[in-house]
Amino acid sequence: MPRFRIALAVAALALAAASAAAAATIDLVAYSTPKTVLGKIVEAWQSTPDGDGVSFTQSYGPSTDQAKAVAAGLAADVVFLSTGDDMNLLVDAGLVDPRWNRQSYRGIAADTVVVFAVRDGNPKHIKGWRDLVRPGVEVVTPNPFSSGSAKWNVLAAYDAQRHLGKTDAQAVAFVEELFRHVVSQDTSARNATNTFLAGKGDVLITYESEALAARAAGQDLQYVIPRQTMLIELPIAVLRSSPDRQLAERFVRFTKSPAAQELFAQNGFRPVDPAVLARHAATYPSRPGMFRIDDRTLGGWRAVDRRWFDPNRGLMARIERSLGG
């Protein structure tokens, strides 16, 4: 029996030595906006015992493109995307567990909200959604077909009306009216910000994180948070195919820890941790009419995709067609 114990001890030591010698790596694939904050979170984690010695590869790009790349075989352990829609892409490809949103905070690592960026001094007095369809107001918003995250804008416009008591038909009509005022449908939020900064349009429908990033980069971008607005939830998940799931999950758990949430808050993103959010309430004011994608009137991503964003039969396609000619 002692010989068996010695063998076990030797084996355990060998295993420990082997795992210490092997370089642990995490392949992180994310969308573009959180690049800076994720870099900081990675560094913060690497100085904890859990993350010590773990090296990262990082890839940043448009959210839907990244999801598709992972589905086509891009190596990834952790994905951080800008819509649950893109996460569903990976679920459907069998790469992410369908119960990913049963993790802490429903699988969300950070939030942001839909806001209106306005010109210096807000000369056209833009406060709420109604102001966007006043005569002469020019709107810039990315195209929901080009940019997955632009879907948030359309859905926010619709659901804001529902929360103001409008019927479904009235709310859809509002979205159509809104798109009559759109003077540029850029292919990404970044491009839309650029168009607005180049002088086009009176108001830019964008995200708080994007506006704060522009400010941090020295652009004097003023924005307004409408009373009714969409809380954008940014999902994070571990891939099923990850060779070291436990390690990846430890990292994901870290992103929801107070330390990482504080980093999110300092870099333009709303933390999901309520305590951290409360500390930054001045930067991230609450709004009475904030709603989410699984709002009763929206019904979650799959329902919304079917109804709004089918390329031929969806409501957005119909709206675009009615604008034409």
């Binding site: 573009s32 940043y60 598709k68 891009l74």
Partner: protein, 262 residues
């Protein structure tokens, strides 16, 4: 008088369409000072990106040059049915928007694609690794040498070559001493155009690269990264460096062009 007017018009057109935009790129690259511009191109990930770009270019250009010359010879001198089709076919890669090129490569080499199993079995990474990036770059820069050499060959005509042949010169000698010098400018500009295109390629390579920092990012992908990070000065700085490389290639090619026999 007429010469001066033509020169003025041409320079005016170039100033508006070409020179003003380029000047703006240069100005914005140095907006934060020379040090800022230098740091934009000298961080490790960007240096690696330039290495990758140059590496891909170094493979794509010779391949497309060889293809272009042979193809041009086939189109101009060849006698086979479907020459006109080949001629039109060569330009086709240009008409495809780069996103579609990337998508095609996805369809071929991605999970579930026609060639996926073939390469996976041998552990060869095509997609999200340099091989697919080389393929995409070769695709989009295919036509230029052929397109340059074809008109030059037509202008040359066959008489000189036929004369050389009747005098007993071999095909290789004819090519080296008569054809090559006659098409030297076409070759120079063909190579320069191909190189410039390889340096500036973004769309197709972006789709197939996986955008892995420090591994599969080219210089143009770094530009996009800087743009997304709202670091426009950095984006312009890297672009200026790419432009400078293209100019160097032009100067080098002009100096290296095959000399006309005395």
């Amino acid at each position: 008088m007429r010469r001066a007017a033509l020169r003025a018009t041409v320079l005016g057109y170039l100033a508006a369409i070409l020179l003003a935009p380029l000047a703006l790129v240069a100005r914005r690259a140095f907006e934060g000072g020379a040090g800022r511009a230098w740091s934009a191109v000298s961080d490790p990930d960007t240096v690696h990106a330039f290495e990758l770009t140059l590496g891909i270019t170094a493979i794509a250009v010779p391949l497309n040059t060889l293809f272009g010359v042979v193809c041009a010879l086939a189109i101009v001198r060849g006698r086979f049915p479907g020459k006109g089709l080949l001629n039109a076919f060569v330009d086709l890669p240009l008409a495809l928007s780069p996103v579609v090129v990337g998508l095609s490569l996805f369809l071929l080499f991605g999970r579930g694609g026609w060639l996926y199993g073939l390469f996976e079995a041998h552990g060869v990474r095509v997609l999200f690794a340099p091989p697919s990036m080389v393929l995409a770059t070769v695709f989009v820069s295919l036509p230029f040498v052929a397109r340059e050499v074809v008109p030059a060959l037509r202008e040359l005509g066959e008489e000189q070559e036929q004369a050389a042949r009747t005098l007993g010169a071999s095909s290789r000698q004819t090519f080296r001493r008569i054809t090559l010098p006659a098409i030297r400018w076409a070759l120079v500009y063909g190579v320069v155009l191909t190189t410039a295109r390889c340096l500036g390629e973004y769309g197709a390579v972006a789709v197939v690269s996986g955008r892995i920092e420090g591994r599969t990012e080219t210089a143009t992908l770094r530009v996009q990264d800087r743009y997304e990070s709202l670091d426009l000065t950095g984006a312009y700085g890297i672009s200026l460096a790419l432009a400078a490389i293209a100019v160097c290639v032009l100067v080098a090619m002009t100096l290296l062009r095959p000399r006309r026999e005395a």
